[in-house]
């Protein structure tokens, strides 16, 4: 499969990616202009650059530069829903950068010699920078499989946080949040009232992203993607075009469920089969598109699906957001740790429960890297979400939305679809839907052991009971089977990890060999997931830090 730009952007989208600079000294300005002649220099940089999709303020769609300028001048950005990144230059010596509330768009920036350079694509910035790996960010990546927060893996390069505004003026940077996820509301609403509000919000969120027919959507067969398809089916006169991923008959899949939903909603359903060779061929292309690496095994399959859909449609709906917003599967292990009065700190527990390589850091990193690491700082980032005992579950859900939502899921779908001209539509991450979810009591989202209770209630009339009540299984890429010794990707992965990663002075070669020999200790060592995490990193380093 070839990842190629096949379609233009839809009507309600503007631009795809932005870049620019301000305050650079002449020599750097020349270098920057040589690379980006159309968007740079005080004479050529437009007053406003905007990259947006499905943006609305109240009942009014936002599409033109003058719409955006009006909103910025009225300071009404906190009321805008939809995906956007903006660069506004109200005066020659002042630049504002903005990122949308949920984090559907992304924007990197780096202070350079008193000036500032920024871009939606990190590859635009790196030729202007001395490249050095940020060890603290590396530990973050190894702990989460993505990079939560402002720091990137490159020292001195940052990413705007969701809902953040950054002002550069006379070499000074000032940051402020123009929107934050609300805390649990003190409003005394009945469950029925919350449910009805949610249903309205979901319908609005889908409608605001609807770009006409034919409409395409991912359909795993889980509740989240199924409800999006069901809502789309009500909007569209033509059958919705739905897509599933599968990894061969020998591996677990959810096709019976996705086919059931497709039948129920009358969609035309297609299954994209992913083979190990697709992963091998596309890994480097895909990882190069990610300024922040993502160690999620679904990354390449997602990219292949996007490429397929982009040939037919400018928009692909997805069901991302249901898990973090509505009490998905990350909460029960933390509940158990708390019920059993686990003596570890909450942050330590959370990072262990995350099941990436946090627990392996002392062995995975070289002694020098481990000594230089500030583990307490890594944990302290989690404290604001986990410190309040009485709000533990609400804090956890908030954490999952703010961290995983913005920095993993939304970041990934945006970065992978941008080069294809495809707009990812994530209605369950809509600003209003996320805010409503965060406002309601946590017990409505996780009711006893039932995850996403209120979400299921809100769409109970749209989906078969067998889908609403089905046991959670999740989309699983068979990394364990593919990467294990004698698996189809083992030799390739082994060579890349043992030769590629050992060129960098951070990784202990003995631990890497133990990993590739499938000999890590512990009763659940999760070799496959860890190999994938490191394989993704090695591929990312080839593009972004090749000279080490």
């Amino acid at each position: 499969m070839i990842l190629a730009n096949t379609r233009t952007s839809p009507r309600q989208a503007t631009g795809r990616g932005l870049r620019g600079s301000i305050g650079l000294p002449p020599d750097l300005m020349q270098r920057w202009q040589a690379r980006h002649p159309l968007t740079d220099g005080s004479d050529t940089t437009p007053e406003l650059q905007h990259d947006s999709f499905a943006c609305w303020i109240g009942q009014q769609a936002i599409s033109t530069a003058s719409d955006w300028l009006g909103i910025l001048k009225r300071e009404a950005l906190d009321q805008v829903s939809g995906a956007f990144a903006l660069a506004w230059r109200p005066a020659p010596d002042t630049l504002w950068l903005y990122r949308d509330a949920p984090g559907e768009r992304s924007l990197f920036y780096a202070p350079v010699s008193g000036g500032l350079i920024f871009s939606s694509d990190l590859r635009d910035l790196i030729p202007m920078l001395p490249r050095q790996l940020n060890l603290q960010a590396l530990a973050r990546y190894l702990s989460y499989a993505y990079l939560p927060g402002r720091e990137t893996l490159l020292q001195g390069v940052y990413q705007l946080l969701p809902g953040e505004a950054l002002r550069w003026q006379h070499g000074q940077l000032q940051r402020q949040l123009f929107w934050e996820l609300p805390q649990t509301s003190a409003q005394q609403l009945s469950e029925r009232q919350w449910r009805d509000h949610l249903r309205d919000s979901l319908e609005q969120a889908v409608w605001r992203r609807y770009g006409g027919e034919p409409v395409h959507a991912s359909l795993s067969g889980g509740v989240d993607s199924s409800l999006v398809v069901a809502l789309l089916a009500r909007l569209s006169d033509e059958p919705v075009q739905t897509w599933s991923l599968a990894f061969g008959k020998a591996h677990r899949h959810e096709l019976p469920f996705s086919e059931r939903v497709a039948l129920h909603c009358g969609s035309q359903h297609r299954v994209l089969q992913i083979q190990p060779r697709d992963i091998r061929q596309q890994l480097d292309t895909v990882m190069a598109q990610l300024g922040n690496p993502i160690g999620d095994p679904l990354t390449v399959p997602n990219a292949l699906l996007f490429a397929q859909v982009a040939r037919e449609s400018p928009i692909l709906f997805n069901g991302e957001g249901g898990d973090p917003n509505f009490g998905g599967p990350k909460n029960i292990p933390m509940l158990l740790a708390t019920l059993y009065d686990d003596p570890r700190t909450r942050a330590d527990r959370y990072l262990k429960v995350y099941r990436k390589a946090y627990g392996d850091l002392p062995q995975l990193l070289t002694p020098a890297a481990w000594q230089a690491l500030d583990l307490a700082a890594l944990q302290a980032e989690l404290d604001p979400f986990l410190i309040d005992d009485s709000q533990l579950m609400a804090g956890l859900m908030r954490l999952n939305t703010v961290f995983k939502g913005a920095h993993h899921i939304l970041y990934k779908v945006n970065a992978l679809s941008a080069p294809l001209g495809l707009q990812p539509a994530s209605p369950l991450f809509d600003r209003e839907v996320s805010a409503l979810a965060a406002s309601m009591p946590a017990e409505l989202r996780l009711r006893e052991a039932t995850e996403k209770h209120i979400l299921k209630q809100a769409v109970a009339d749209l989906l078969p009971a067998s889908i609403l009540q089905r046991p959670k299984s999740g989309m699983q890429v068979p990394v364990e089977a593919w990467l294990q010794p004698r698996g189809p990707l083992h030799r390739w992965a082994r060579q890349r990890i043992l030769k590629g990663l050992t060129r960098y002075p951070y990784f202990d070669p003995r631990w890497l060999r133990q990993l590739m020999d499938w000999e890590l200790p512990g009763f659940l060592p999760r070799h496959g997931a860890k190999v994938w995490l490191l394989l993704s990193l090695e591929s990312w380093l080839r593009t972004y830090l090749p000279e080490n």
């Binding site: 677990r252 019976p256 469920f257 029960i332 292990p333 509940l335 158990l336 740790a337 708390t338 019920l339 059993y340 009065d341 527990r349 262990k352 429960v353 009485s390 533990l392 579950m393 017990e443 996780l446 006893e448 052991a449 067998s466 089905r470 046991p471 299984s473 200790p521 512990g522 009763f523 659940l524």
Partner: protein, 363 residues
Amino acid sequence: MKCPHCQRDIRYRERSGRQCPQCRKRFAFEPREGDLLSDLAFKSLLDRLSDQGTLAWNTRQLQHALRRPFQRQQFKQRQGLIIGSLFGGLVLGVIGFNLLPSVLWLLLMLGGGSVTARLIYRQFKASPFLPLSRTEAETLLQRWEAVHGPATGKLSPPQLKPATGDKNPLSESYNVGQALICDRPETVAFLLANDFHIEQRCAILSVGGYPPDDFEGLRQMLKRNPQLNVFVLHDASYNGCQLYHTLITEPDWFKGSKRVFDLGLFPRHAQRLRGHWTAAGASYQRTPLPGYSEADNIWLQHHELSLMALPPKTLLKQIQRLLSRHAQQASEAYARDDESGWEFESEDLLRIGEIGDSDSDFG
């Protein structure tokens, strides 16, 4: 023997006082003076038990892990006696052949040979019972720790304090999908210390009330969930094998639930784990357990087999595998609209042959 500290080879006469002549550091054991293992061999055993320091373990598991070295030592001690008897018999036979009438000599040789063969058979046939006590294992560990410091991963015995009555409000609002109920507090303590509850998203309790902090709150939480899958985990003992029946009949537990699955151990697993049995505590005749064969009930009258006979990693992996398989089968059955897919025969759920094919799995 190698010094456990500096790895130098030290001859017996150089290591008087159990001290290395090179690094001057002490060691705990002297195999030439009757100790079971050298310091390095003991450390290697502890490393295997804790899987390179990543798992928690208890001294009952150490007791089972020491079975093989203990039997090896016993065999070595008896080896000399057996070889001596055979040699003595041979010499007497030659002498007797010259002095005694041939018929009498033949009868004496047959009689003597038969007695010797029976003696040898008894020596070689390992006893099904665990050859050392927990106290003996703990004593060895204490000696090792006195020289080398605390062993990594060692669990203290579970604290059986009275319930505090402190309620965690979380257990009143939230719930879990599966629970493991065990017959012994030490099994619960072992699983919790290894984060099994977090990894497998399941509550873990002992039938007798462990862990005591908010035990009742946890039990009530589990009872509230009609979809709860309960897995029963116990020793192959009279009380352990009774647990499943208790849970499905007692109103305090899950009376009438069809989602209670017995994972074992069962008497049928005993043959594979010969050498790890212990004698049953009760001397009186107990009522036969329903659902068990006559042979099983007879075995249970006199014997017990602890879950701790399985090495920590093997035990954890096996339970994890069973729970995952159950979840997968249930999910597949759900996808097929097969309601009976939720029902599992207990026989399916702990095949001892799948626990480990090599003897090394059993310490």
